[in-house]
Amino acid sequence: MSQDLYLLSSLPDSEEMEVSFGPQHPATHGVLRVMVRLDGERILDAKPIIGYLHRGTEKLFETMHFNGCIPHTDRLDYTTAAANNQAFVGAVERLMGVTIPPRAAWIRMMLAEMQRLASHIIWLATHALDIGAMSPFFYTFQERESILDLFEEYCGARLTLNAMRVGGQPFDLPEGWLGRLRAFVDQLPARIAEWERLLTGNRIWKQRTVGVGVISAADAINWGLTGPPLRGSGVRWDVRKALPYDGYDEVEFEVPIGQNGDTYDRYLVRMEEMRQSLRILRQCLDRLPDGPVMAKVPKVLKPPKGEVYHSVEGPKGELGFYLVSDGSTQPYRLHVRPSSFINLQSLPELVRGGLVADLVAIIGTLDIVLGEIDR
């Protein structure tokens, strides 16, 4: 009997149940915790609770010299290290007025697109796993492995790349690397088609994603969504097109958009983005310029006094660094505009009225990484 009282006393109302999802839950992609108010299976409200992975990175930046910050950016969103590096060094370079050699810019572009593929592959794997399709996880990770092998060959690391420096690239490409990248780029379209055969037309997959987590274009803009969640709602916004950096104005690619702003459209957008990334990579392989990979920058970086905001189109959305310098060798303040954090804000809006199963589908479709949310 005491058990019953215990159960009842924790309920705000006999009809409603409050459940704490996470922070140790298989579908919250790390240490996200969501307090969910349920009426049976229906979600009345959901409140994300974050902070379980807070490491004080932004404060740490203030104690380090500029090149020392780069390894710490790797650990923001640990699945998109190249994009983080690119955004950070871009901000410092913009403040210092450094122009990097074209070959360095194109190598950055290649690394960033490979990282986008790797990140989208993880997203697909975990999203499918959350919805209950187990096999795509294994099929996709095999391809991700090839990307990580190429990263490892280039910079020695697979996940935390630390592959860019202020002023250019630390190393040129290794011998034969381009050939191996081309082999990978040539075989991936067939794999993507295979994954799509398992999911795109699958009735259960469509039932679980079409009309789930709908957000209109206006709402998406108001919530500050960027990346695939924004484009899934039909807004053609991509930092690579809008404010080109690192040679993106010299390559051709499309920005895919969805129509309905539901989970299925976001899925289609990301699948198409993978093909567009391959298209960019192919152009890079064909037209990679020769020359040095490092501009002339002083050994000790001392940007002038001032502030700057520089953003890149990360795999998960706009990733920006707001840098304030007091003219010393360390940043005075470095703020990260994380894509995952801002995309996660819309979670309560997206899940309200859905079912418990929709919650995991929507966490999956927002493609969040807690390392970037908590910093």
Binding site: Q3, Y6, L7, E41, G132, M134, Y139, I204, R208, A357
Partner: protein, 350 residues
């Protein structure tokens, strides 16, 4: 066999021990084959370390689970919590007493007179199987409720709703077979398929489809594995169970898969009969003992279970309910009427 002690005590006891042992062992090995097969489907190896190609893996797993500490969480409703695994494992093993694994056999001349390789054949076998196997739901609901865990409770409630919804169309699908066979005894149903010169799957293809899909839902397997949906409910009703108590839930799930496959074999695929039992020129197939035909058909269904698991995403709870109530129940009822009408028109109907 004039001594009643031999006929009514010794022989049934031996049969019970042999069948129980076989089913439990088959259940354990089912988990091994599932892991190897899913591994194959997912371009990985699966367990291959223990013994030759990993064949001793289930034994090692069982030993491990036996050796585990028997944890009872502090806030559970103890009696109900402990009876959950018993309530689910007992019915799922008891039903195998009426499954006809083969025709009476002398075991290649070893026995003086033929002996039936099943415990008993009662004249309401089908009702017995459906009734007793439905009883296992109590293990899930009570286990989920007694765990005092919201996720377990939701898993238990989901499975209650799911099993009740899918029991109905499943029953209607079975009734279609009963109309064709004119008997509730499983042995008679197989005999009826021999006399009809056709497996019931051909006239009853719709009923078979409904039966098998409902069977997947009844056993909580992918794509209908909502009660234990890992991504949503962590482990569902068995989250708080560990050691042998967890093993019982696990064994019961696999035993139920074997049961559903066995029933599908008996009701729709002629049980132990070889393919096309009336075609004389196929009689060379009789070399294979009937028991092996039965096993092969069951294995085919079990393969489908694993195959689905490697392929499909999971449906959502409301979609599962909609499928059961809005599609399967009307279709199975309509199918029943069509089959009944055809039987009457053909002058059947004993």
């Amino acid at each position: 066999m004039t001594n009643p002690w031999v006929a009514f005590v010794l022989v049934p006891m031996i049969k019970i021990v042999v069948i129980l042992g076989t089913v439990v062992l088959a259940t354990a090995y089912m988990s091994f084959f599932e892991r190897r097969l899913v591994g194959f489907l997912q371009i990985r190896l699966g367990p291959n370390r223990v013994g030759w190609f990993g064949v001793l893996q289930p034994i090692a797993d069982a030993l491990k689970l036996f050796a585990k500490e028997d944890i009872v969480p502090s806030r559970v409703e103890k009696i109900v919590y402990l009876s959950g695994p018993v309530l689910i494992i007992v019915p799922s093993l008891v039903v195998f007493s009426v499954i006809p694994f083969g025709p009476p056999t002398t075991l290649f001349g070893l026995l003086p007179e033929p002996i039936a390789p099943f415990v008993t054949d009662i004249n309401i076998s089908v009702l017995f199987v459906m009734g007793v196997s439905s009883f296992g739901i109590y293990g899930i609901i009570l286990g989920g409720w007694a765990s005092n865990n919201k996720f377990s409770l939701m898993g238990g409630l989901r499975s209650a709703a799911q099993l009740i919804s899918y029991e109905v169309p499943m029953g209607f699908a079975v009734v279609a077979v009963l109309l064709m066979a004119g008997s509730l005894s499983l042995v008679d149903i197989i005999e009826a398929q021999r006399q009809a010169h056709v497996w019931f799957v051909f006239p009853g293809i719709v009923a078979f489809f409904i039966y098998f899909v409902c069977g997947i839902a009844e056993t909580n397997r992918n794509p209908f594995d909502l009660p234990e949906a890992e991504a949503e409910l962590v482990g569902g009703f068995h989250t708080e169970y560990s050691g042998m108590k967890f093993a019982f839930y696990f064994l019961a799930e696999y035993a139920n898969m074997i049961l559903i496959s066995s029933m599908a074999t008996v009701l729709f695929f002629g049980g132990w009969l070889r393919p096309f039992p009336s075609w004389g020129w196929l009689s060379f197939l009789d070399v294979v003992p009937p028991f092996l035909w039965f096993v092969a058909k069951v294995a085919g269904f079990l393969y489908c279970y694993i195959w689905f698991r490697g392929t499909f995403p999971r449906v959502r709870f409301d979609q599962l309910m909609a499928l059961g109530w809005k599609v399967f129940i009307p279709v199975s009822l309509a199918n029943l009427m069509v089959i009944g009408a055809v039987i009457v028109l053909l002058g059947g109907g004993r």
